[in-house]
Amino acid sequence: MSHEANTDTDREFEQRTRSLLLESADGLPGALRSRLTQARYAALEARRAAAPASTRSWMGAGAAATAVLVALLVFVPHHGGAPVTALAGGSIDDLDLLAESDAVPLNEDQDVDYDFYEWAANEADAKTEAAPSVGT
């Protein structure tokens, strides 16, 4: 036996009950509708308030991690015991270069001059082969 409403009478009954219920929802008093609107805004506001809080906590963790990294780069002596401040400065310069607006647009393959990079790689290989090795 099917458990769906099959007969016309069932369907008519369903339509009537549905329209009655919808009418009752549409006819809620203004004060109630206003309280429902307030409840909706409260829910949206709570969500808005919650989102930045979690972002802040991640940002705080990120800032702490960055501070530790910078402290390590600046204060931990490099192999020979000399501070690596200069290297860190160099890295920052490199970052600036990378961030420059003229940097290679890696997301646009059509603009990359592959011939140039191939030539540069070959040049570098040729120089390496031409240079005398340390042991000879």
Binding site: R18, L20, E23, A43
Partner: protein
């Protein structure tokens, strides 16, 4: 030069300051959630009101459900919101009913408080005030009250299946998701609810 061409549509727009609107998707999400809540709040309230027969409790339950959805499930795809929202709503309704049951049991041991704490809710008193009432409207209101009474008398699962399918318009799969049962169970509950309501409302349905 860095291009914004790789950003998804809608986020590549530049503001006056020339900065991309990186929060557009978040704002879209908030707008979608607001539209969703605005679309379900009245029906949700009526469902809670019919189940609890108490306006303030129904309001609390709806507000709580909205908060829960916004707080926990807003990141889910909007297509999932409706079944999730009605699942939360039903859980909240059940919580209130359980609390009442416990309170009533406790009150049964303290008969001197029973009269003060009893919150007998009159359905007629709770019915929406529709202003001036011509005969047709009065008749409609009377039928509505009869329907509400009949719904109240249904077993909770049958009432839930009927209201979600018929009133809220969820399909069988969504209703099953909201009720955490199989689609077959939804069909059975719905069918039984329909039969019971037809019997109860027979005299009004001529």
């Amino acid at each position: 030069m860095f291009a914004f061409a790789t950003l998804p549509a809608g986020t590549a727009e530049l503001s006056r300051a020339g900065q991309p609107h990186l929060h557009d998707s978040t704002q879209d999400g908030a707008r979608a959630l607001e539209a969703f809540l605005a679309g379900v709040e009245r029906k949700a309230f009526r469902i809670a009101q019919i189940a609890l027969r108490h306006e303030a409790d129904a309001l609390d339950v709806v507000q709580d459900s909205m908060l829960q959805l916004a707080h926990r499930y807003a990141a889910r795809p909007p297509a999932e919101w409706k079944p999730l929202f009605y699942r939360i709503l039903e859980n909240r309704i059940r919580d209130v009913q359980r609390r009442r049951m416990v309170r009533n049991r406790v009150m049964a041991w303290m008969p001197w408080h029973a009269d003060d704490e009893e919150e007998q809710t009159d359905l007629i008193e709770q019915a929406a005030d529709l202003g001036p009432q011509p005969p047709a409207q009065l008749e409609s209101q009377e039928i509505m009250q009869a329907l509400e009474r009949a719904l109240t008398e249904l077993p909770p699962r049958q009432r839930q299946a009927f209201l979600l399918r018929n009133f809220e318009g969820l399909d069988v799969a969504e209703t099953a998701q909201a009720m955490r049962c199989s689609e077959g169970s939804v069909k059975t509950h719905y069918f039984r609810a329909l039969q019971a309501l037809r019997v109860s409302l027979g005299e009004f349905w001529k």
